[in-house]
Amino acid sequence: MNPFALVGRFVIAFLSEIGRIAAFASKAVPACFMPPIYFRLVAQQMMRIGFFSLPVVGLTAFFTGGALALQIFIGSDVGAETLVPQIVGLGITRELGPVMAGLMVAGRVSAAIAAELGTMRVTEQIDALVTLSTNPFKYLVAPRLIAAVITMPILVAIADIIGVMGGWVVGVYSLDFNSAIYLKNTANGLEYGDVTSGLWKAAVFGFIIALMGCFHGYNSKGGAQGVGAATTNAVVSAAILILAANYVMTSIFFGAGR
């Protein structure tokens, strides 16, 4: 096959996918602000997306904080007692907390949303909604988007605390640091901006997670295999977009000029 045709086909497919996502988002976002807003469903989704992700996110944060503390201790000669807590604090709140939580929730929630909406699509349940005079964007998509954008920052705030605690556990029980000094150094090393930037990231990641799950699920076709493909695509695209968005936001928050 002509290599130019191959490249061209890939580029066109890529751009049209971006176009489709943008078109989907342009219907989904207004649906979050215009009545009717189904608060019952928003609350239900907050439970599913936020609350039930707590164990996964908590464990991830705990072990990440612990491993980070260990790595920094091994890599530092002197002043480890100030260095370890400060870097763990910064690393978790700025980067690892939101990114790790985002990726874990992407795996859990994007997949679940895509599978649920995909099954509803192929069993004509989404068509049934329309015939019952209910807008699927308001009934299915908006509650998931709202719930994810609200709960992700809360999840990340908790992940930040647990992550720092993971570092503290390793520091105090394995590296023989003084507990009070560790906590004092953590607090001294952190500024408001470190934490809030991470929470802003979390809100954006929440939007990406729900949007990718809804987009791929809503547009799935072709029975069980189609739903499977939608689920995979939702997780993969959410994860990649999270990492890309993280870079962009890091460069905006902490970029050149600061």
């Binding site: 019952l132 209910t134 009934y139």
Partner: protein
């Protein structure tokens, strides 16, 4: 009298495949029209065009004389409030209980309270022969025939003016199919609604139709009263209603 539903020159293609090639159809108020035809002749797409699930490329669709082809958003929802639809596989919401399914249009569309909506849902369930013990079950716990009946109850719950039936008897045993047919006839008579159905089950078509139209290759090739279908003089219709493999309709079967 303005027809309840009127299609004129409706044309739709998916990629290179022309599915509807100028469909003309009208259903008068209180009339039951059944569209018959083989699989892949565009029956589903015809119904979905009227419901607004598929937008035709060309042509006009009117409901009560109002052009609905390009309606979106609120205006579309308003038209759809006249509709009730029974899907082929019932398409019940599996995240909701049976009664919540039936009450869906009442709660979401009409803004009724849950207690009141539940009362109406139980009445509708009783109408299709299901007791209150079924109401608390989840749709996945029901048999195919029961799901169809719940689907019917959901379709009639908000007192629609027009009901659509998509293959109402497909996938049911002959006795349950007849039960569903009887239910459809009884409900339609009682409510005085207009119906548009699609099926390839001739027994069902003869039972629920006032008029029958046959769709072949995206066009209506015959339509008339159901009493006249046996003397249509149309070889395509004859082949279909008698279920013969030999005739002008060639199945694409590789031997």
């Amino acid at each position: 009298m303005t027809p309840k539903i009127e299609l004129k020159g409706v044309f739709k293609r998916f990629g290179p495949k022309v599915v509807l090639d100028g469909v003309d159809l009208s259903v008068m108020p209180g009339e039951s029209l059944v569209i018959i035809g083989g699989s892949g002749t565009g029956k589903s797409v015809t119904i979905k065009s009227v419901l607004g699930l598929v937008t035709p490329d060309k042509g006009s669709i009117k409901v009560d004389g109002q052009e609905v082809t390009r309606l979106t958003g609120r205006a579309r929802e308003k038209v759809n409030q006249k509709f009730g639809m029974l899907f082929q596989a019932a398409a019940l919401f599996d995240s909701l209980k049976v009664w919540e399914n039936v009450a869906f249009a009442l709660i979401q569309g009409r803004g009724l309270g849950r207690a009141e909506a539940k009362k109406i849902a139980l009445q509708k369930l009783a109408k299709v022969g299901l007791g209150p013990e079924v109401a608390e079950l989840s749709p996945s716990e029901l048999s195919g025939g029961m799901q169809k009946r719940v689907g019917l109850a959901r379709a009639i719950a908000a007192e629609p003016e027009i009901i659509f039936f998509d293959e109402p008897t497909t996938g049911l045993d002959p006795i349950m199919a007849d039960v569903i047919n009887d239910l459809i006839v009884a409900t339609v008579k009682e409510m005085g609604v207009t119906t548009l159905s699609i099926t390839h089950d001739m027994t069902s078509a003869r039972k629920i139709a006032d008029k029958i139209a046959m769709l072949y290759k995206g066009k209506i090739i015959w339509s008339g009263r159901k009493e006249d279908i046996d003397k249509s003089g149309n070889p395509y219709v004859d082949q279909f209603i008698h279920g013969r493999a030999e005739g002008p309709i060639k199945m694409e079967v590789v031997r």
